[in-house]
Every structure is written in C-alpha cells, then in structure tokens.
C-alpha cells in the first residue's frame, strides 16, 4: 500500500483566482460565450427545464392510470400527456443530456485542450436547441400533440388534428443542434489532443463521446429528412407514407428507427463513459480490459445502426428480415455485456469507497443489467410477438433510459460538481437521494414487467380492472422517484452558496480534468499538459496521483 501524498501546490487557495465562472459577469457574456464550460452550464440549465416539463407529462400519465377508467376525463388529454413526456424526454432531455452538458464541459479538459475545435459552432448548437425547443413548447402550448413521440404514419401525417408540424419543426431544428455538437466533438477528439495523449491514453468517457458523436453525425440527418417528409405530406396532402396514395407506412417506421434506435445508444453510451470514470476513481483501479471497453463503445455505435427493425417485428416486415435483424440485435448485446462484466471485474481487489457518485454508478450497473437482459427477451422473435407494444417494452426501456442514462447523469453531475463549481455537494443528502432514486425507480417500473406479460398495451388511457394493482404500485413508486429527483436539485443549488470548498481534486482522481484548479480557468490549464501515463494508472506512484507533470509543453 503506497500513499497518495496530497501536494500543497494543488491545495492552493481557490479564492481570488480568475475562473471561467468569475472571468466576466454580465448576462451578455454568458449568452455570447464561446467557452465550452459555460456552454455546458447553459445546456445543463436548459435541459433541466425540459426534464421538468417531461416529468410533468409523466406525472399526468401515472396519475391518470390510478383507476381503470382513467382519471383524466378526456382520452385526448392523456394522449397529449404521454406525447409531451416522450418528446421532451427523448429529443430535448436524454439526447443532449450527458453529451451536451458533461461532454461539453469535460471533453477538452480530459484531452488537455483549451477549448473544442469550433467554439462558435458549439454556441450555435446551443441556440439551435433553444430555438427547436421553443417550437416544441409552442406546439404544446397551442394545444399539444397526440401522436406519441414516434409519429407513426399515417396517423401523424393524415389523421391527427393536433400541431404535429410545429412539433416536427422543433425536432428538426434540434436535430441540427445534435449534429453540430457531434461534429465538434469528433474533430476535437481527432485534432485537439494534448501532446502524449494517444488514443489509448484517452479516458473512456472520451471514447464514449466519440462513439456518440458518430451516431449524431450519421444518424440524425435521417430523422430530420424523415420527419420533414411527414410534414410535407401533412401540408401538401400528398402521399409519401399514406397508403391512400400508395405510400407505405412501414417505410416510415424503417426510416424513423434507423435514427431512433441508434438514438438509444446516443443516450446510453455517454452513460457508459461516466460509469467507467466513476468506477475507476472510486475503486482506485485501472479499468478491467481498457482496450475491450474502449472498442466496445465504438462497436455498439456501429452495430447499433444494424438493428433498427427489431422495432418492426410485428409491423408486417418480411419474416426473413425479421430473422436478420433479430440476430444483429443479439450481436449488439455482446459489447454491452463486455462493459458490464468489465466494470464489475474492476472492483476486484480495488479500494472501493461508496461515495454518492459510486452509489449511482453501482445502481446503474444493476438496473442497466436488468434492462439489457429484458432487451434480449424483446430481441427474441417468438417472445416479441407477445411482448411488443405492451408495458413490458415500457419497463424495459425505462430500465435502460431512466435506470441507466439518468442514474449515470446524476452520478456524473455529483462526480464533477466540485470541478464545475468548486463546491462539494452534501455527502449525506447525496447518499439519501441515491438510495431513494434507486428504490423509487424499481417500485415504479418493476410492476410494469408483470403488467406487460399480462398483456396491458402501452398508451392506454383506460384499462381492464385486473391491471389496477400494478398501476397503483407503479404510480406510488413514481412519487418516490420524484422525491429522489427533487432532492439533488435542492441541495446542489444549496451547495453553490454554502457548500464546502472542493479543492482541485477531492476524489484523488488521476484523469486530466482533475489536474487543474476547480473551477478551471477560462483556458482550462495554465500550461498545455503533457500526458505521460496510461489512463487510471493509480498503481503508478506519482506525486498526488497525477499522471501529468504539467510542465510547459513548448
């Protein structure tokens, strides 16, 4: 056992330094900033708002399902509620969640760059998100949309008489926000790495962001053009997907899921990155099988493009492509299994401390494992015939999206909160919130697995009475879950003013972003760092566990 000495020059007083936070003060300087860290903060604030709107939709849904007849008097209200929930959560919260907030903030720090490659584009993509979301919100304010977030034709293109076009415009614009973010990240990772920061010295979060950006770049344009076609069909009353004019509604589903299934990996891949960072830091170990974990991210991104039609097994596609897509869907589970096993194996003979981010991370592994395994059931053709479009599917992807992506997002926020703000979050309340979230989540979504196998269809405003027990359980869990989400909001804001000074590296992490004061200065590092060690090399004794003697690079 060798100690990590805590070197004084990194314990230097944090006050009185110019940081990216106090460099300038005007609102204007924030709205026109080109600093990736400030843009990350802007993203965090905006998507928190979108999350609340989406959560409102979820609350309506869960309350309505308390009684078999449905509490909301109008089915239309319920349909609009779950559409708001889906659209806001998927397109405006989950997709930008980790990449645009933590990614923007951390990517240049982790690779030792002063900023992303194209700061102006970075800011532009935030404004695109805001413009797109304002379209979506106006669609909601003008009376909402009732197509569900999937916009299946011909209902969305011909039959729905809600503000579909407005919503589509919002998602279209938001898509370009994603594209520009991904473009920025790919170029940054390729061209802006600090000297010595080779590909296999990159933190796994960076690998995950690279894979995510690939999907952003190659997938998003397809959903853009697909939804644009729906809008055209709706406005001009001409048949593209409408069978009345010879169109094929199943083609829409193909094109929609060509993006929207990889979009699932947009949501979960960055979470994988966060978990890899947290686990290694709080176990003080190298990740088990770095190369495998790194490449599994890219493999997931690529294979993720080959599996979309497993959403169409019961939609009338040919039996043969059903078989093809089922096999490919199982294939994508392999790299995912590698990740889960490697994280678990990383704990072996480690020095595990169960602080809040670690609790979230371990909770993530458990919940994501359940989500992934139920995913196998849905990828099994014979079972999907029964489970498709039931609450089993709902439970499955909430285990991945909420139990996976959001748990990782919260864990990451706690983990890097000291770096972002220079303040520590209250550890006790952090642990409490993590526990509440975990319990509330399982109480909410596990009953839905049972409901699903019993056959309760999704998007039902009213349901047969024998399903009520599980719905009541689920709603009860949802209220617990809500507490688990409100708590961090409160105490993190509280910590901004009253939190303890964090210091540059409170968790003794070895990755690069911790080797600069927190909050970091505007250009991240006083001097361009030189990377001289493999990632997570906690076992190599260097002063204060820093792999980076930040000597002048010049």
């Amino acid at each position: 056992m060798t100690a990590i000495p805590y070197s004084p020059d990194y314990a230097a007083p944090q006050t009185g330094r110019t940081t990216y936070l106090n460099a300038t003060h005007t609102i204007r300087s924030w709205l026109l900033t080109k600093d990736h860290k400030r843009i990350g903060i802007l993203y965090m604030i905006s998507i928190t708002i979108f999350f609340m709107i989406g959560a409102g939709g979820a609350a309506l849904v869960r309350i309505n399902l308390l009684t078999p007849a449905g509490i909301l008097s109008e089915p239309a209200q319920y349909n609009k509620a779950f559409t708001i929930h889906g659209v806001m959560m998927v397109f405006f919260f989950l997709v930008p969640s980790i990449p645009a907030t933590l990614g923007n903030f951390l990517l240049p720090l982790m690779i030792g760059a002063r900023d992303v490659a194209f700061p102006k584009i970075n800011l532009a993509s935030w404004y695109l998100l805001i413009i797109g979301s304002s379209f979506a919100l106006s669609a909601i304010l003008f009376g909402g949309v009732d197509t569900g977030w999937t916009f299946y034709t011909p209902y969305s293109s011909t039959f729905s008489n809600t503000h579909v076009v407005l919503m589509i415009v919002g998602i279209f614009i938001n898509g370009f926000s994603s594209i520009l973010t991904g473009l920025n990240f790919v170029v940054t990772i390729h061209k802006m790495r600090a000297p010595g920061m080779t590909w296999f010295r990159l933190p796994l979060f960076v690998w995950a962001m690279y894979a995510t950006s690939l999907i952003f770049i190659l997938g998003t344009p397809v959903i853009a053009i697909t939804l644009a076609l729906v809008a055209v069909e709706r406005l001009l009353r001409v048949g593209i997907f409408d069978p009345a004019l010879g169109g094929d509604p199943i083609l829409f589903q193909h094109m929609f899921w060509f993006y929207s299934h990889p979009a699932v990996y947009i949501m979960i891949l960055p979470s994988f990155g966060v978990i890899s960072e947290v686990i290694t830091c709080f176990a003080r170990k190298r990740i088990f099988g770095y190369v495998f974990v790194a490449f599994s991210s890219v493999a997931i991104a690529i294979i993720g493009f080959l599996v979309w039609a497993h959403h169409l097994f019961d939609a009338g596609i040919s039996v043969y492509s059903g078989l093809i897509f089922s096999l490919l869907s199982f294939l994508v589970a392999v790299p995912t299994a590698v990740k889960v096993f490697s994280w678990t194996a990383t704990l072996y003979k480690g020095s595990v401390s169960l602080e809040t981010p670690m609790l979230y991370a371990l909770g993530f592994i458990g919940l994501f494992t359940i989500g992934g395994l139920t995913g196998l059931m849905l990828a099994t053709l014979g079972l999907d015939v029964h489970l498709h479009d039931t609450y089993f599917v709902i439970a499955h992807f909430h285990y991945v999206m909420v139990g996976g992506a959001i748990m990782a997002y919260l864990g990451g926020i706690h983990f890097w909160w000291p770096k972002m703000t220079g303040k520590m979050y209250p550890e006790f309340w952090g642990k409490i919130a993590a526990a509440i979230t975990f319990l509330g989540f399982n109480l909410t979504f596990f009953p839905q697995f049972v409901l699903g196998y019993l056959g309760m269809p999704r998007r039902y405003h009213a349901y047969p009475p024998e399903f009520q027990v599980y719905n009541v359980l689920s709603t009860a869990g949802a209220s617990v879950l809500a507490v688990g989400y409100v708590l961090p909001l409160i105490y993190l804001l509280w910590s901004l003013k009253y939190g303890a000074e964090a210091g540059p590296n409170p968790f003794r992490s070895m990755s690069l972003e911790w080797q600069t004061p927190s909050p970091p200065p505007t250009e991240n590092f006083e001097r361009t760092p030189i990377c001289s060690q493999p990632p997570y090399a906690y076992d190599l004794q260097t002063p204060m566990g820093s792999p980076v003697p930040t000597a002048a690079a010049t």
Partner: protein, 151 residues
C-alpha cells in the same frame, strides 16, 4: 504531413478529370437510350449501369476535385464512412422489401407447397347450413365492450 496536405494539384489534372466526367455523362445518356434489360434478358440492367456510372463520376470528383487522393487517411475514412452508412441503410431496408413475398409467397399464404395446379383451400364445414340440427343459442348481439366496464 503538412507538405503532403498543401499539395497543389496541377490544373491539367482538373481539366482531364472534367473531360472524363463529360464523357461519362454522354455514356450514361447513351446507355439510358438502349433497353439493356431487353438486350441482356435480365432486369435492373439499365439501373445498374446508370448507378455504376454515377458512382464512377462521384469517385472521380471526390478523389481529384475534393483532393481526397492527396489527403490523410482520416479524411479517407470520413469520406467513405458516410457512403458505407448509406449502403447499410439501403441494403437492410431492401432486405425487408425484397423478401416480403419470398419464398412461401406473400404473408397471407399458408405454409404449403403450391404446385402449378389449383390448391384447394380446406373446406369450410362450418358454413351456414339451413336447418342444422343444433339447438340455436340466443344470439349474442355484437357489441363494443370498452376495456373498463363502468362497474
């Protein structure tokens, strides 16, 4: 690396490429005038030829006009990735549409080997038989039962 990238392509190259492109344009028009499917007794010949020529043109433009020929490997990768992904989307979507009715026939077909002769579907012994001996039950009028019966 740098010098390789600031590589200045002589203008004659551009001129020659333009000439080839124009030639290919003429060829593709000429090919479209012929009924190749009929000539080769196989479908999709016209389409294949047209697309192949288009691909050739695109590759010429990418290699020379867009300097990929003189660029780093990463540019090669980016330039090809997009088209690879497009190929994925195209082939996997078509894997559905081309096999919809294959080989057992369309989705409504029962799994039986059909010969050139007429296959008799199974008789319908349960047809309406005037005056069947079974005692008629009280007819249950078809009704719309909502999921949640207002109990």
């Amino acid at each position: 690396m740098a010098d390789e990238h600031d590589h200045v392509v002589p203008t004659q190259v551009y001129a020659r490429v333009l000439a080839v492109l124009m030639l290919l344009l003429v060829v593709t028009v000429a090919a479209a005038c012929l009924d190749l499917d009929h000539i080769f007794h196989a479908p999709y010949w016209n389409m294949t030829v047209a697309v192949l020529i288009a691909i050739t043109k695109a590759v010429l433009i990418i290699l020379f006009f867009m300097h990929v020929k003189y660029s780093s490997r990463i540019v090669w990768a980016f330039a090809s990735a997009a088209f690879v992904w497009l190929g994925i989307m195209m082939t996997l979507s078509l894997s559905d549409y081309t096999t919809r009715n294959f080989p057992e026939g369309s989705p409504t077909m029962p799994a039986v080997q059909t010969g050139p002769e007429i296959i008799r579907p199974a008789p319908r012994p349960d047809a309406v038989v005037p005056g069947a001996s079974a005692a008629p039950l009280p007819h249950t009028a078809p009704q719309r039962t909502p999921a949640a019966p207002p109990a």
